[in-house]
Subunit: 113 residues, 2 copies
């Protein structure tokens, strides 16, 4: 069993085009022994955003600190503290911080096999 | 895309032997379209516990409100707010609330295929 605080995991700055003001921590991943899915925790600074993109895998999200604006083909929606978000594979999406404070969310993805 | 507050998802009382004072919400599951893993949120009331048990699948946990005492073959450990816990498949484990207030955690499991 591994117990660690998410803030003690090294942060990474995603290098993908279209990312602004985002930090990611892979808090439960392959190095911890994960075989099926990976838990990441994201911070987005005020005015920042993830890329508007599409991929064939899903996201399962829990909002630790909102509000987070989520852009998709359905338009703009807002997720607040304690909201869970399911983004199915193949759906375009972007997470935006349109507030004045850092927002945080947990986002899980499957491990490809 | 589905956005919903975790408290708006119907709670279930696990019926497994050895469970005391536990509520579970399956907040992102098959009905939301999950195909690979399920997100559940647990509450354990003061003095309550999950069963001491073993199964062949893993847990990926994020502690929303601790402290949570986790019993395993390694003894007793305590997880606090913001800790993540990885319990590999095959490791005996039990989550206990030895505090005076409700504790809460997110716990994900794979969908068996």
């Amino acid at each position: 069993m591994i117990i660690q605080h998410y803030k003690d995991v090294e942060e990474m700055i995603p290098q993908e085009s279209g990312v602004n003001g985002v930090k990611m921590r892979r808090v439960i991943a392959e190095k911890e022994g994960a075989e099926n899915f990976v838990m990441r925790v994201f911070e987005i600074e005020a005015g920042g955003n993830t890329p508007l993109h599409t991929h064939d895998w899903e996201h399962e999200v829990f909002v630790l600190k909102g509000p987070i604006v989520i852009v998709s083909s359905e338009g703009k929606k807002t997720a607040k503290n304690g909201d869970v978000v399911f983004v199915p594979g193949g759906e375009e999406h972007q997470f935006r911080n349109e507030s004045d404070e850092v927002v945080e969310f947990i986002c899980l993805i499957p491990i490809k096999k």
